[in-house]
């Protein structure tokens, strides 16, 4: 079943045409990777799916419902959430409260508590720092927090924008493991990564973006094997 469907999306920043007729589908249970150079429009796509920035034309359907007519918070309530690029933790709020805010609209208090403990097991560093103001965390710790916070909402679909940025290799591995695990547990994933190699390895399918346009889409292993892709994005 199609979980997310983007059709002919056009997005502008002033007169910069940042996304051109972008179309993409993510099926339920899939991991889909987006790769592309700096400035290709990956983050723009993620933000417009969440209706954080307006699109000029096109459609975004999440479980058949039009996202472009909904406010961001409604989309989140429908079950899709985003870990934005650049962390965006609430700097003057404690780590724990940041995590609780991730579960803002959930009413199942006891489950939230369990999830919180699960997160702390996953990222012991965050537990150590749970009273600290998030803004004083190191860059990598903030990145962990941002991802963990999104997990707190138990989304049906999770959009991740460069979740490995600034993380130690060991944590990067852990994040990728986590992505695979929650995917197995039933969360559909749309993943943007500079670290294309690793991203494609865990993905089912992949899309390649260039200057706002989709230039290729294929099964992940096919993309991994593609020479052009290898040269441009994976490093020789």
């Amino acid at each position: 079943m199609e979980m997310l469907k983007v059709e002919n999306l056009n997005v502008y920043y002033g007169n910069i045409h940042a996304l051109k007729d972008m179309s993409l589908t993510v099926n339920e249970g899939e991991i889909v990777s987006l790769i592309g150079a700096n400035g290709a429009g990956k983050s723009t796509l993620m933000l417009s799916i969440m209706h954080q920035i307006p699109a000029k034309t096109g459609k975004v359907l999440f479980q058949g419902k039009d996202c472009l007519t909904q406010k961001t918070f409604d989309i989140v309530k429908e079950g899709m959430t985003l870990v934005p690029e650049g962390r965006h933790v609430f700097p003057r709020t404690s780590v724990q409260d940041n995590l609780l805010l991730g579960a803002y609209y959930r009413r199942d208090k006891s489950e939230v508590k369990k999830d919180l403990n699960r997160i702390y097991e996953m990222f012991p560093r965050l537990q150590e720092r749970r009273r600290q103001l998030a803004g004083t965390l190191s860059g990598g710790e903030q990145q962990m927090l941002a991802t963990a916070r999104a997990l707190m909402s138990r989304p049906k679909m999770l959009l991740l924008d460069e979740p490995s940025m600034g993380l130690a290799p060991i944590i990067v591995d852990q994040i990728f493991d986590t992505i695979v695990r929650i995917n197995k547990e039933g969360t559909t994933i749309l993943l943007v990564e500079q670290n294309a190699n690793q991203a494609l390895r865990i993905a089912d399918r992949g899309y390649v973006l260039e200057t706002g346009e989709k230039t290729m889409e294929d099964a992940a292993d096919k993309l991994l094997a593609n020479d052009q892709i290898r040269e441009a994005y994976l490093g020789a």
Binding site: M165, L167, V172, N195
Partner: protein, 261 residues
Amino acid sequence: MSEVLLSTQNLSKSFGGIMANKDINFHINRGEIVAIIGPNGSGKTTFYNLLTGITRCSGGTITFEGKNITGKKPQEITKLGISRTFQNIRLFGTLSVAQNIEIARHCRTSSTMWDALWHTKKYGTEKEENAEAVERCMEYVGIADKKDWKATNLPYGMQRKLEIARALATDPKLILLDEPAAGMNPKEKEELMDIIRKLSSDGYSVILIEHAMRVVMNIADRISVFNYGEKIADGLPTEIRENPVVIQAYLGKGASADGNA
């Protein structure tokens, strides 16, 4: 040429109860590229903040070119010849690329309001020198064609390069780079590595914080490893790669780290 350029003795910093840096003994020789790696929150950025005087240390000393520079103000340290980039990019956003770099010339110039008002000779020569330096630094990192762009409008990778150019414009002896490769794709990382190698061959000393192992392993002469605010290892890339403690705390299973992060 193994003269020590900068060293720290038992450098420490605590935030409340957290020891962000603990008795760090570190040194870098002239012309060297030393990488600092370590888990998130191990105190690498804090270490930079101490070296550049942005944060005051709670203990220990910093020696630069044989002089004790502990407790000096950031602007004084820059003038002495240590310059840095920031993990969270801190450009002068609304200013142009060229202006960003010209500001960095501040510590190497001295004309006053009086000179500026009457356009004295000193003002003129300094303006010319600055223009040259700006040109040179932009070319160094390859952003000369973006001269008049506003800094915030640059793509991410370029912003990182501009930070390096700006650091370079202060005529430093030592450059501190904080995760310069973050958010760059493999191709851009290659370009970055070229720039850092060039810096080294031009006589600059470089300390590099980086999680991208391919970059670190390829260009560092030496690697220091931090964990929980302490320096837990120091050695050649080949040694560090095999070090079980480092693997356990930092590198993880994918230690071979081909094309990693």
